[in-house]
C-alpha cells in the first residue's frame, strides 16, 4: 500500500471501489472501528484482530499507529475483503501512522472519514492515557471503548482509568471477555438454590492457569486473578473467609493465560472440580463430590478458542457489564 496525502483518502477509496466492481463485492459497514496501537511487539497481533472482527462485523476500520521517531504523519487506504472465498463484502481500511507532534492532527483526520449514523467503537490496544489529547478525543467520539488489561503494568491504575472513561462511554476489556465461558459455566453450575447455598459456603478456591505468556500477553495470571476477583465481588466474600490459590502450569500448546482448571471446596466438605481436557481444550469436565458421594462427571463444551473471538464478542455487546465494573472497583482497591 502506498502512502497518500490525507486529502486524497476519499478519492483513493473511490478509486479502489471502482476497481472492486469487477469482482462484485458489497461495501459493507456496521460500525466505525478505530484501532489505536503503538508500534511495538504487539502490533502484528492487533492487525490480525482487524480481519477477525470484519469477518463477523464488516466495518470501516481506521487504524492509528503511534511510532516513536520524528513528527511524521503517513496515511494509506485499502479495501479488505472478508476472509472466506464466499464472502461477498469488503470493508474500507484507513491507516494512519503518526509520531510526535503529528499525533495531534489525528482527530481532525478521523472526523471527516467516520461513516455517519454508525456506532463508533475504539479499540485502545495500549495502556489508557488519561490527559493524552488523542485519548480524550477518542473517548468523546466513541460510544464504546475496548481495552486490553493484558498490557497494563499497574492494574489499580488501569482500573482507575477505566472507571473514569466509563463516566463518558461504555467500556469493555478483552481479558474480561476471554473468560466469559468460565463465568457462564459457573453461573450454570450453581444455578439452583441448593447449589448456590453450597457456593456461599466456599472456603477454598484453587485456580490453575497456563503460565505461558507471549509479547501479546505479559501477565499470564490475569484471567485467573479476574476470575477470583469476580467471585469475590459477586458473592461478597469477606476478606480472609476464602483461601485462594492461583497456580501456574506450563501448557505451551494452549492459549497463554487461559484458565486450566478450578477447584472449589466448601465448609461442609463439598468439592467441585472443573478441569479442562488438555487434549480437547474446549471440553471441560465437572466433578462434584462430598465425603460420602461422588456424582457422575459432566462434560461442557466451550466454543472453540480463536484469535479475535473476545474482541468480536465485546463489539457485539452493548453497555458496560455491571459485573465488570465491580471487578474494576475491586482492582482499584488493591
Amino acid at each position: 500500500m502506498t502512502a497518500i496525502a490525507p486529502a486524497q483518502i476519499q478519492s483513493e477509496l473511490l478509486r479502489l471501489w471502482d476497481a472492486q466492481k469487477a469482482i462484485n463485492k458489497n461495501r459493507a459497514s456496521l460500525f466505525n472501528l478505530i484501532f489505536f496501537a503503538k508500534k511495538n511487539a504487539r502490533i502484528e497481533y492487533v492487525h490480525s484482530l482487524v480481519h477477525k472482527v470484519i469477518d463477523k462485523f464488516p466495518s470501516r476500520v481506521l487504524f492509528i499507529t503511534q511510532t516513536d521517531q520524528g513528527n511524521d504523519l503517513t496515511t494509506r487506504v485499502s479495501v479488505i475483503p472478508g476472509s472466506s472465498p464466499e464472502a461477498d463484502f469488503a470493508c474500507d481500511l484507513i491507516e494512519i501512522e503518526a509520531s510526535g507532534s503529528s499525533l495531534e492532527r489525528i482527530p481532525f483526520l478521523l472526523l471527516p472519514h467516520l461513516v455517519p449514523d454508525l456506532p463508533i467503537i475504539t479499540i485502545w490496544a495500549d495502556e489508557p492515557a488519561p490527559g493524552n489529547p488523542l485519548f480524550e478525543q477518542l473517548i468523546a467520539l466513541s460510544g464504546r471503548m475496548i481495552f486490553d488489561s493484558g498490557v497494563a503494568k499497574d492494574l489499580p491504575k488501569f482500573a482507575k482509568a477505566l472507571l473514569a472513561v466509563n463516566k463518558k462511554c461504555s467500556i469493555a476489556d478483552l481479558t474480561w471477555a476471554r473468560f466469559e465461558n468460565w463465568r457462564k459455566l459457573l453461573s450454570a453450575t450453581f444455578y439452583t438454590p441448593e447449589r448456590l447455598e453450597q457456593l456461599y459456603r466456599t472456603n477454598k478456591l484453587h485456580i490453575f492457569y497456563n503460565s505461558e505468556s507471549k509479547p501479546v500477553l505479559e501477565k499470564a495470571d490475569l484471567q485467573a486473578l479476574f476470575l477470583q476477583k469476580w467471585l469475590e465481588a459477586e458473592l461478597r466474600w469477606k476478606a480472609g473467609s476464602v483461601e485462594v490459590v492461583l497456580t501456574p502450569e506450563s501448557q505451551p500448546q494452549l492459549t497463554p493465560g487461559s484458565i486450566l482448571s478450578l477447584d472449589l471446596s466448601t465448609s461442609d466438605n463439598c468439592h467441585f472440580s472443573f478441569g479442562r481436557d488438555l487434549h480437547f481444550p474446549n471440553q471441560i469436565c465437572m466433578r462434584f463430590s462430598t465425603l460420602v458421594r461422588c456424582d457422575i462427571p459432566l462434560k461442557y463444551i466451550f466454543p472453540k478458542t480463536e484469535t479475535g473471538r473476545a474482541l468480536v464478542k465485546e463489539i457485539g455487546h452493548q453497555g458496560t457489564s455491571p459485573h465488570f465494573l465491580h471487578l474494576l472497583e475491586s482492582l482499584h482497591a488493591l
Binding site: 462485523f57 465461558n181 459457573l186 453461573s187 450454570a188 466454543p303 455487546h317 457489564s321
Partner: protein
C-alpha cells in the same frame, strides 16, 4: 431475585438436562435437519452436558450403526464443515438407537426402561422431548403409548421434571381433523406440552420481521391501509415433489405450504404490536389477525383463488417431468402443486388492502418473500396522467439471500425531470459475516428451554384451517379439467395472473 453470577445482558438461557427421543429417526428429516442441528448446538456449547438423543424407528440397527449414519449425515448436511472429530468422539457417546414399531407396547416398555437407565447414567433427570418426525397418522398412537408408559407426565402432579412433544406439520388435514387430533392428544398431554413446529418460524429472517416492524418507528406509521396498496407473499420452489408422491396426493400444496408457512408469514406481517415479547402476547396478536381474515365466500372461490399443477418443462436448463409423471402420482391426479389467493383482513388497520398469496412447486426459482406495495403518491407533481411512476416497494426476503430492499424513485441526473426507480438493499449475509444458525437449531433449543414463542399454537392452527378448509373441500370435489396448467419453470397458471389483473395489479416479477 437475580442469581449473583448471572450477568445482565449476557445471554444465559439455562438449558435443563434432558433426553431427546426422535420418532422416525431413519427418515429424511432426521438426517438432513435434526442431527445437523443438534450437532451444531453441541458445537456451540448450547446443549446441556447431561443430554442424550435416542433415535426410535422400525429398522434393525445397533447404536454404533446409527451413530455412523448420523455422522455421515452431519458431514453432508451440517452448515459447519468438516465435522470436528474431537467433538464428535464425545458427542456420539450421547447418541442411541431404539428399535420398535410405533404401535408396539413392548417397544415402549423397553424404551421407558432404557430412558430411566440413561437418566441414572447421564443425569438427564427424567426430562424428555419427544420429536414426532413421522406420518401424522402415528401421532395419536405414539402419544397414547408414551402416556401409558408414564413417559408423558401429568404436569399438574409431577413438577420436578417435564415432558414435551414436538409435532411436525401438518396438524390435521382440515379443520375437523385438526380438532379431532387436538382432542385425541389432549387425552394424553396438555396444550403447553405440545410444540407444533413450523421451521419457518425458526428462520432468522422471519424472526427479524418483528424486529423490523417494532424496533423501527419509521415503518409502523406507514403499516396500514392509508399507505399500503397491497401485499404479495410468495413461496416459490424450483424443486418438484420428489419422492413424496404418496404424501402429496393426500396433501396438496394448500395443506403443505399455505396453511402453515404462509399463514405464519401473513400473521407476522399483519399483526398488531404485542404488549410484550413473551409467547402468549405474540400468539394473542397472531390469533387476532388470523381471526380477522375474511372467510372465503364460496360464491367467490373462482375469483378469489386459483390453483395449478405443473407439467413438463425446464428448470435451470434441464428437462423435468410433470407432476402426473412423478412416482406414486395418479395419471389423472386432481391435486394442486400451485395455489394463489386473495385475502382480506377486516380490521381497522387493513380494511380494503388485499393480501395476495402464491406458492408453488417447479417455479423458475426458489424464493420466499413478502412484498409491501405502497400506494402511489398524489398525482400533482411528478406524475403524468399516462405514465404512473412505480410505487415504492418494500421487499422482505426470507430465503435465499435474506435481507430487505426498498425501492424509491429518484431523479436521473440531467436537465429533464426523468424519474427512475432505484433500490436500497440490505443483505444479511453481507452485513453479518458468519452464517446464522439453522431454523431447527433454534427451535430444538427453544423447546428444551420451554419457550413456545416460535411454535404454532392450537388457535393459530384452527384459524388457518377454518379459512382454508372450505376451499380445499371445494377443490377436491371439482375436477380441474385443464391440469396440468402451467409448464415447469414458469411462474404458474395464467389464471393466477388474472387474479391480480382483475384488480388492476400484477405479480411482482422476482
Amino acid at each position: 431475585m437475580t442469581h449473583p453470577l448471572e450477568e445482565p445482558g449476557v445471554s444465559s438461557r439455562f438449558v435443563d438436562p434432558c433426553i431427546l427421543v426422535i420418532f422416525g429417526a431413519t427418515g429424511d428429516l432426521t438426517a438432513r435437519k435434526l442431527f445437523p442441528a443438534i450437532y451444531n448446538l453441541a458445537r456451540e456449547g448450547q446443549l446441556p452436558s447431561q443430554f442424550a438423543v435416542v433415535g426410535f424407528a422400525r429398522r434393525e440397527k445397533t447404536h454404533e450403526q446409527f451413530r455412523d449414519e448420523m455422522k455421515e449425515a452431519i458431514s453432508k448436511y451440517s452448515r459447519s464443515k468438516p465435522i470436528e472429530e474431537s467433538l464428535w468422539n464425545t458427542f456420539k457417546e450421547q447418541i442411541f438407537y431404539h428399535r420398535s414399531e410405533f404401535k408396539d407396547e413392548q417397544g415402549y416398555n423397553s424404551l421407558r426402561d432404557f430412558l430411566q437407565e440413561l437418566d441414572s447414567r447421564l443425569g438427564t433427570r427424567g426430562n424428555r422431548v419427544f420429536y414426532l418426525s413421522t406420518q401424522p397418522s402415528y401421532f395419536t398412537d405414539i402419544c397414547e403409548e408414551l402416556h401409558r408408559t408414564n413417559l408423558l407426565y401429568d404436569e399438574t402432579k409431577i413438577t420436578d421434571r417435564w415432558s414435551r412433544v414436538i409435532i411436525e406439520k401438518p396438524f390435521g388435514h382440515d379443520l375437523a381433523s385438526a380438532h379431532a387430533l387436538q382432542a385425541d392428544l389432549l387425552k394424553f398431554l396438555r396444550e403447553n406440552q405440545i410444540y407444533r413446529i413450523d421451521h419457518y418460524l425458526g428462520k432468522e429472517s422471519v424472526q427479524n420481521l418483528l424486529v423490523f416492524r417494532f424496533a423501527n418507528s419509521l415503518f409502523e406509521s406507514l403499516w396500514n391501509n392509508r399507505y399500503i396498496d397491497h401485499v404479495q407473499i410468495t413461496v416459490a420452489e424450483e424443486i418438484g415433489i420428489g419422492t413424496r408422491g404418496a404424501f402429496w396426493e393426500e396433501a396438496g400444496l394448500v395443506r403443505d405450504i399455505i396453511q402453515n408457512h404462509m399463514m405464519q408469514l401473513l400473521s407476522l406481517v399483519a399483526m398488531e404490536p404485542p404488549v410484550s415479547l413473551n409467547a402468549s402476547a405474540i400468539r394473542d396478536e397472531k390469533v387476532k389477525v388470523l381471526s380477522a381474515l375474511r372467510p372465503l365466500d364460496p360464491k367467490e372461490f373462482e375469483s378469489s383463488a386459483t390453483r395449478g399443477q405443473y407439467g413438463p418443462g425446464y428448470i435451470n436448463g434441464e428437462a423435468v417431468t410433470g407432476y402426473r409423471q412423478e412416482k406414486n402420482v395418479g395419471p389423472q391426479s386432481n391435486v394442486e402443486t400451485y395455489a394463489a389467493m386473495r385475502l382480506f383482513i377486516d380490521n381497522w388497520r387493513w380494511h380494503g388492502v388485499p393480501f395476495y398469496l402464491r406458492a408453488g412447486k417447479r417455479l423458475p426459482k426458489r424464493v420466499t418473500e413478502i412484498a409491501i406495495c405502497f400506494k402511489q403518491p398524489p398525482g400533482v407533481l411528478f406524475q403524468e396522467e399516462e405514465h404512473m411512476h412505480e410505487s415504492n416497494l418494500l421487499v422482505i426476503r426470507i430465503q435465499p439471500d435474506e435481507g430487505t430492499s426498498l425501492k424509491i424513485n429518484c431523479k436521473v441526473p440531467g436537465a429533464l425531470n426523468v424519474i427512475q426507480p432505484v433500490k436500497m438493499d440490505f443483505r444479511y449475509g453481507s452485513y453479518f459475516g458468519t452464517s446464522p444458525p439453522e431454523a431447527y437449531e433454534r427451535l430444538i433449543i427453544d423447546c428444551i428451554i420451554g419457550d413456545r414463542t416460535l411454535f404454532a399454537s392450537d388457535e393459530e392452527v384452527f384459524s388457518s384451517w377454518a379459512l382454508l378448509t372450505p376451499l380445499i373441500e371445494f377443490w377436491s370435489k371439482k375436477v380441474q379439467g385443464d391440469f396440468p396448467n402451467y409448464q415447469s419453470g414458469t411462474w404458474g397458471p395464467k389464471a393466477a395472473d388474472h387474479l391480480l389483473e382483475q384488480d388492476g395489479r400484477k405479480w411482482r416479477l422476482i
